[in-house]
Symmetry: C2
Subunit: 244 residues, 2 copies
DNA sequence: GTGATATGTTGATGGTGTCAACACGCAATC
DNA sequence: GATTGCGTGTTGACACCATCAACATATCAC
């Protein structure tokens, strides 16, 4: 099975037992930077000598991601995160208002990565808007498959739980898709219907596929199968939006 | 439009503040059974006189749903559920192995409702497979919008968390869609590609839209707008699967 | 150097899931 | 009809959690 190329980033290394879809046959477009920046300096688990940690905020985010990785989102606790970073159970409260705020930060970081990846996909796709849309779709789904932890957190927060920074990050990410839709309509490649609705349909489909893929519910046997499915589904999407 | 008639069931009455999409225009066809059976007898919160509850299992499920309704999935606790039913904090353990098992039961009940609704949609749609697929898509999304609590629980459990009964209920529900795809291919209405992949794409799209709708992220202003979007998106889906 | 302030710690409180031991009442057996 | 077994519900305990308040330490502005 294949691994769609972008490396597993931000120290997400241990593969979970049930990843039926991800795999690692190379794919040429993978030269792009990692989707999400790993923490710069400190190994999250290194015991510190100084009283102050130095970069606790990012370390907490990284530790939370690592925690979710080998387990479940539900078993993330501030205390366990603190333990992993080697800090007292109340230290996180100097950087996050509460547990939800930490998850918001993880999610926001994820959306920034998603934006980066989709923008990169557009940049290397010189064709018309239809081709660019397809490229975005592929990049989007690949991002989810390669960063399942991020992706899960990104969509685990209900509207009421999302803070302003997260909403902004989401809006930025959404903007990438929306601009392509608008461009496609301007050049008469896409139908002239409400661009917002068109974008919503597009987003809904890739989002649904991303979720299925992460959950291992796409019964693709090999990496090639996954690539083929990616091609198939995104082509269908792109065609659906085009003028008939 | 056809409004598959599921009424808001199982005592999900209080509308949450952010339901921008659900519309309650009455619909005449609503004679059909509710999508999910409400608990038969006892008002969940009625203080009981007898030592034994009578139908504690279903009451717990109902209470869990009610709890999620006015709040968040994350704040469901067995203890609070027990409190609402008027029973000790350990009573649930006579009916569910743990908290996850209770959520599994809720989810399974939801999938049974979803199956019923989609089957009903097919039954009242005499057209070809393409029209039936569109009907299923509408019914699916409407189910989600009208039963957001069920829907959220249905997809909140990771593969590893799902028990056998839930997986069976999911498979049954999936089967409805799959059969329509197969029929459409047999009658040369749909493309001759892998039916599983076709079904996955279809499911992914309606699933994505359902999620967006539930989260209130579809910026439709009125019920008519929502109906129009439903029509638009499902038509796109159906057309995408058809022979070119 | 001296505060002021940001950052980290300790301790306490009330909530949670779950286990073990116990209590009740229905139903089948004698 | 009394006895006994077992399903169902209760009480109590434990470990864990989120969060608040009070305190300690390091860093920075002056």
């Amino acid at each position: 099975m294949l691994m769609v190329s972008t490396r597993n980033l931000s120290c997400l290394v241990k593969s979970s037992k049930s990843d039926s879809t991800s795999d690692s046959k190379s794919d040429s477009t993978s030269a792009a930077k990692p989707a999400v920046k790993p923490a710069a300096k400190p190994a999250a688990s290194a015991p510190r000598d100084r009283y102050h940690h130095g970069d606790l905020r990012q370390s907490l985010i990284d530790a939370a991601i690592a925690l979710i990785q080998d387990g479940d989102l539900s078993q993330v606790s501030l205390r366990e995160v603190s333990r992993r970073v080697g800090v007292s159970h109340n230290a996180p409260y100097r950087h996050f208002q509460d547990k939800e705020a930490l998850l918001n930060a993880v999610a926001a970081q994820g959306f920034q990565g998603l934006k980066r990846v989709t923008e990169a996909a557009i940049a290397v796709t010189p064709g018309d808007a239809a081709e660019q849309l397809q490229a975005i779709g592929k990049a989007y789904i690949q991002f989810a498959v390669q960063n399942p932890v991020y992706y899960r957190v990104m969509f685990s927060l209900s509207d009421a739980q999302q803070d302003a920074a997260l909403k902004e990050a989401m809006a930025q990410s959404w903007g990438v898709l929306f601009q392509v839709i608008l461009a496609g309509q301007a050049s008469s490649v896409f139908r002239a219907e409400d661009p917002r609705q068109m974008a919503q349909v597009a987003w809904a489909m890739v989002h649904g596929i991303a979720l299925l893929a992460i959950e291992g519910q796409l019964r693709v046997q090999s990496g090639e199968d996954f690539d083929a499915f990616l091609e198939f589904s995104t082509r269908m999407l792109s065609q659906g939006l085009q003028q008939q």
